[in-house]
Amino acid sequence: MSEKRIEDQYPKTTVLKDGTKVVLKTMTHNDREGLHEFFARIQEEDRKFLKHDVSKREVIDSWLKDINYGRVLPLLAEVNGKIVGDATLHRRSSGWLKHVGEVRLVIDPAYRRKGLGSHMLEELILIAADAGLEKLVAEIVAEETAAIRAFRRFNFEQVAVLPGIVKDQGGRYQDLVVMVLDVSTALLPDWYYF
C-alpha cells in the first residue's frame, strides 16, 4: 500500500442506493474541523461503543499528528463537503501480525442503511488485498449486533469473545467480539466480479 498508489486512487465519487453522491478521499490535516463536527453528530449511545473517546479534541488531534498511510489509512466519505463516514485500515510494518490489518468504521447516523458502510468496507478490503494483507480483524462490542451482522455479510467470522475486557466510554465493561476475515474469501458485491 504505497502512498503513491493510494493517492492515485482517491478521491473518487460513488453513488449510494438513494442516489446521494459521495466523495471518498484519504484524511489530511485539513480535515480537523470536519472530523470534530462529524463525531459530534454521532449520538452518545453509539459513541460510547467506539474504541476511542472521540468527543475529546485531543483524540482526533492525535490521529492527525502523525498521518502515515502505511500504518493507518483513514478513508473519509464526504457529502457536499461534510464528512459522513470514517473507515480506517490499521497495519503493522513488522512482527507476527504483519499480515493482519485491522478495520474500524464509523458512519453518520443519517447515512446508515444506504450502503455507505458496506461501500467503505469494500474499499478497505480491496486496499488490503492489494497490499498483500491476508487477514482483516474487526473488534466490536458485543451489543453492537447490527455492526456484527454487517461484517458477517462480507464473510468476517467471529473467532473469539473476550468477556468484559473493554470499558466503554460510559465506564461499563463490555464483551469484545473479535471478527476475522480471510481476505482471499471476502464476499464482495456483484459489481466487483462482473
Binding site: 467506539l50 475529546k56 507476527w96 473476550l162 473479535v178
Partner: protein
C-alpha cells in the same frame, strides 16, 4: 513506580540478579541478549529481535508511560526482559499487556516468575485492572508458567499469527485480574 528500582533479588539457585528499568544505553546489551535467545524461541516472539533496527526503535521511542521495560541483569549482563505496555486513550486503557523473554540459561530458576510478579505489582500501582498476555500456541512452557501465576486463557485465535518462519500459529490470549487474587493452589 520507578522508585522501586533498582533492586536486588535472589533466584532459586542462589544467583543474585538486579532488576531495573531499561535506559537508552542498554541498546547494545539488549541486542546481545536477544542474540543469545535460541533461534527456535525467537521464532515465537512478536517482533523480529534479531534486527538491530527493532531494538533501535525501542530505544528511540523509550517512554515509560507507554512501555515500561524491566530488565534483569547478572554481572551487568541482561538475562531477562519483561515489558508492560499501556495505552493512554481508548477502551483498553485499563489494561496492561505483558511480554517476557528470558535467557535460556536462566530458565527454571524462577526468574520469569519474579519478573511477572514485579509487573503485577507495577500494574496494581498504576491502577490497571487486568494484565493481558499473548502467546503462540507453540509456547507450551510459557503458557503453563503464566497459568501458574494466575493468568487464565480467555481466547484462542486459530492460526492467527505467523512465526518468523512464516508458519501460521494459534494466538492464545491470557488474562489476569489485578483486583482479585486467584485462589491459591492447595496441592
Amino acid at each position: 513506580m520507578i522508585k522501586r528500582y533498582p533492586k536486588r533479588a535472589k533466584l532459586r539457585d542462589g544467583t543474585q540478579v538486579s532488576l531495573r528499568l531499561m535506559v537508552k544505553k542498554d541498546q547494545h546489551a539488549l541486542y546481545e541478549f536477544f542474540q543469545r535467545v535460541p533461534k527456535e524461541d525467537r521464532l515465537f516472539l512478536r517482533d523480529d529481535v534479531s534486527k538491530p533496527a527493532t531494538i533501535q526503535s525501542w530505544v528511540d521511542e523509550l517512554d515509560y508511560e507507554r512501555v515500561l521495560p524491566l530488565l534483569a541483569l547478572v554481572d551487568g549482563r541482561v538475562v531477562g526482559d519483561a515489558t508492560l505496555h499501556r495505552r493512554r486513550l481508548g477502551w483498553t486503557r485499563h489494561l496492561g499487556k505483558v511480554r517476557l523473554v528470558i535467557d535460556s540459561r536462566y530458565r527454571q530458576k524462577g526468574l520469569g516468575s519474579l519478573l511477572v510478579k514485579e509487573l503485577l505489582e507495577i500494574g496494581k500501582g498504576l491502577k490497571l485492572e487486568r494484565l493481558v498476555v499473548e502467546l503462540t500456541g507453540g509456547q507450551q512452557a510459557a503458557l503453563a508458567a503464566f497459568r501458574h501465576l494466575g493468568f487464565e486463557r480467555a481466547a484462542v485465535l486459530y492460526r492467527h499469527v505467523k512465526d518468523r518462519a512464516g508458519r501460521p500459529q494459534d494466538l492464545v490470549i491470557l488474562i489476569r485480574d489485578l483486583e482479585e487474587e486467584p485462589e491459591p493452589i492447595s496441592f
